[in-house]
Symmetry: none
Subunit: 186 residues, 2 copies
DNA sequence: GCAAATTAATGATTTATTCAAG
DNA sequence: CTTGAATAAATCATTAATTTGC
């Protein structure tokens, strides 16, 4: 609880911070433009999870441009990586019905599985619920048979599988299919 | 029988992949965010090697979100499982001699952080970064046996890190830099 | 022009996973 | 079955941008 932030001198507000200047804002690391540039270049070059050694070197080098600690470098890569991914995901999603779980989860007795509850909630949006198609019927035929099948089949029949794949139907808005993702083996 | 893959229409390339966009890229399956989410949730819920039956149902359901074939589902699980394992293996490569040193460190400015593994980059589901790069070969501080620190340590030592608000003196290598930050690999 | 108020970015923490070892 | 190692996702919190009223 000894919070360091207690004795950080609040320095010049506004006017940007001096890169290597004297401003010692303590609250949190505030990277300089040069620091950000180098970090970004490293990231773009493919570095995503620098090792300790790398972090220390980066930090050491970047300290020339201003105050910085190793942990800042670590956090920067963590955040940048995560947010780039986030950004990509957002972009790739055309219509995201991302509804926070609210209430009634139908009468699924399988709601004991938290993940599934979430999945169901996400997929079946509030608007409309059509038909429930069970991915994993509780009374599915012997899973033993299914397991032994394995997907070596796919390699052989890869082409034939694609038969029933509709393409072109994914663009228009159909009713939301409801995935009933209860696993039979659970 | 009828091979779909033969008549996939080459559509708009670039412009992101449309999750629900119209592009019908044929080259390879490009999962939408929703598809990835459902698959990931299934995986997290314990599904690792879906049966043929399961795969078909999953594919059928996911086709609502975009083009998909059963084989894609199959391959996804194969790849995801394998890559998760790979990732963990890489991380725990040097874990052989696991010595817990979550104790008070930070005595040595350089070696307080210890434990390591060598992950320069981990492959993400969508992103690929495969090049290995050296950060700053100029100063070959190879004294570190490439021991990577676990950054949980940073959290623990956060207070100690922030204790030193000195900037510049934090690293023993204060020899300024020459700013030779040219990234050797750039 | 300028600050107070509001919003957007992003640094820092916490939490939930994964595989693998014991 | 439990625990260790190590994230990555989700979240919290603080700083910078910006908007707005004067």
């Amino acid at each position: 609880m000894d919070d360091i932030s207690s004795f950080c001198m609040k320095a010049a507000r506004g006017g940007g911070n001096g890169g290597g200047g004297g401003g010692t804002k303590c609250g949190r690391w505030n990277p300089t433009a040069e620091q950000v540039k180098v970090l970004t270049d490293l990231f773009r070059s493919g570095l995503r999870t620098p090792s300790t050694d790398q972090i220390q070197r980066i930090s050491s080098q970047l300290s020339y441009y201003g105050k910085i600690e190793s942990k800042n470098v670590f956090y920067w890569f963590q955040n940048h990586k995560a947010r780039e991914r986030q950004k990509r995901r957002r972009v790739s999603t055309a219509k995201e019905n991302h509804h926070p779980l609210q209430h009634n989860n139908l009468n699924n007795n399988s709601s004991s599985l938290t993940h599934f509850a979430e999945i169901n909630e996400v997929i079946q949006s509030e608007e409309r619920v059509i038909e429930t198609l069970q991915l994993f019927p509780l009374n599915s035929f012997s899973e033993t048979n299914s397991e032994k099948l394995r997907y070596l089949e796919y390699k052989e029949n890869a082409s034939s599988f694609s038969t029933y794949n509709n393409f072109g139907a994914y663009d228009d808005q159909m009713d939301h299919p409801t995935l009933d993702l209860r696993l039979s083996f659970l």
